[in-house]
Symmetry: C2
Subunit: 312 residues, 2 copies
């Protein structure tokens, strides 16, 4: 099976997973805007705590998906999911009939927009559990974790999905196929929904401090997310809240992705994580007042960031 | 009736109301710590948008209530209500048998601590609706409003309370006696409970912007406070939420007291306003998840402020 891969939104995460696929023998190209010049000249230097250091020289380095020369087997979208990014427009010009569209993105219910735009393409929904930073243009540091979960929205076992998993495994990273990727997204949301906004709204507290001081509230938000997932037909394991709490206790103090975005003055994934969960709750008549409160506050925060950036 | 008054916590609000009582002929002394030297030398210069400018030279300017020479008829406590201020210790040494203890302070259920410490003294509970700033040591600017509501926790009509009201009226400021001062506190809390924390947690949005963007949430928090007040036996007027919303729409953009404290790096009245309301709800089995969420977030904020100030 051929493996022409185009990574769109090739920052730290896209560059890292792209670099792994290149290691496994795929022909990997990237669309990267901000670091275009450096990456075009010298590719990526990737330093991984677990997989050593290597140079990743993409086959094509592009500013825009429209410039892609060829037909991708996999188009892997790694951008953030925020209202200011039009994901369909970002990839449209590089989607060929045989292209599988792979999302390595946060949030719940983020697939429909792409399914509607590309109804005839295979959609692989993916979640990355990774701590990975961009140190400088073209320089990526992989600090911890790395596991990928992939899945198809239909139940069918797609050979293209298995092949992609095999490439990642070959490159040395943990990768599994979920029979219910939607439930996997909700599971991740159980953790993200309290800790991401609480880290921002508290003014930058690490996950440990949040848990030590407001465990009951964290549990209540987690429970609300479980109720929404269940109402959506994706009941989560009964011990999921306990498992997430225990995991967080054992984690090193951790800055959430929303907190990192916030500290950089970037738009946060408020809508993909909180907004979509709250809208799913409303659709199913599930009351989620604590989650809703966090969503309200994050919307006000985003508003304040935008009004500050307009002033500057 | 004699009128020896001691103001404890004579910042902007204490200095302003003390200055009014002095204008009305009372013998007013002050305990003020931070601006002691300036106030001792030159008193207060008060500039009011409504009542002109005047010099207020206190009878005694003290660092500590224990230094008060005489027996006060009224001891007016104007400090903030925060866990780091021991209000009983602050006033104990100046409370004589005939001293009426007057609180001009924010929050709900803030009287009990003082009632227990001084069970034989008359307690007058008061609320100030005022916009009043300290411009410099000993310099007070009264910008807007100014109304005082006073009341006794028992139903009885206390002549000392009426006399104090008359002094304020004489000095030209609106002052009324509430038949149910506890309900009046809850009424003020209906406004404070959403807008104070939302202004801080949003990163500094003014009341107008909060209302324009999250009116439904503001209403839900207000409604939760109404339910708590009712469960405490102090049902509020049916139109209180509408009235507060309409009032806020007509107010000029306004920085809440919590936001001002936050911007100055001071402890905020999280416990007096939100904590006491949530504890009252718990006592009466009232669910208030949105208020609770705001309380949780403000506790985390206060924690973050304290950990920052320990680092500095």
């Amino acid at each position: 099976m051929s493996s022409k891969v185009l990574i769109v939104g090739a920052g730290a995460i896209g560059g890292f997973y792209g670099g792994l696929l290149a290691k496994a023998g795929a022909e990997v190209s990237v669309v990267c805007r901000s670091d275009y010049h450096i990456v075009k000249q010298q590719g990526y230097r990737i330093k991984s705590h677990a997989l050593g250091c290597w140079q990743f020289m993409p086959d094509q380095v592009l500013r825009d998906a429209a410039d892609y020369d060829g037909q991708a087997d996999y188009l892997i979208l790694c951008s953030k999911v925020t209202p200011d990014i039009d994901r369909v427009a970002l990839i449209r010009d590089a989607v060929a009939p045989q292209t599988a569209i792979v999302l390595i993105q946060n949030g719940v219910e983020i697939e429909e927009e792409l399914q509607q735009a590309f109804p005839d393409n295979l959609l692989i929904s993916g979640l990355a559990f990774i701590c990975c930073n961009r140190l400088a243009p073209g320089e990526i540091s992989h600090l911890a974790y790395g596991k990928l979960i992939l899945g198809n929205l239909s139940d069918s076992h797609e050979p293209k999905t298995s092949h992609l998993r095999d490439l990642f495994l070959q490159a040395g990273i943990e990768c599994v196929i979920s029979e219910d990727i939607v439930a996997s997204r909700w599971q991740k949301c159980v953790w993200n929904a309290p800790f991401n906004p609480l880290s921002v709204l508290s003014g930058g507290l690490a996950t440990q401090a949040i848990l030590q001081n407001q465990e009951n509230f964290v549990r209540r938000v987690m429970q609300e997310v479980c109720s929404i997932a269940e109402a959506c037909g994706h009941a989560l394991p009964a011990d999921i809240v306990e498992a997430h709490i225990a995991l967080t206790r054992d984690m090193p103090p951790y800055k959430t992705s929303m907190l990192l975005d916030f500290e950089r003055g970037h738009t946060m994934e408020t809508e993909a994580i909180l907004g979509n969960a709250v809208r799913a709750a409303q659709r199913h008549g599930v009351d989620c007042p604590c989650l809703q409160s966090l969503y309200v506050l994050m919307q006000l925060r985003e508003l304040q960031i935008r009004s500050n950036s307009l002033l500057n």
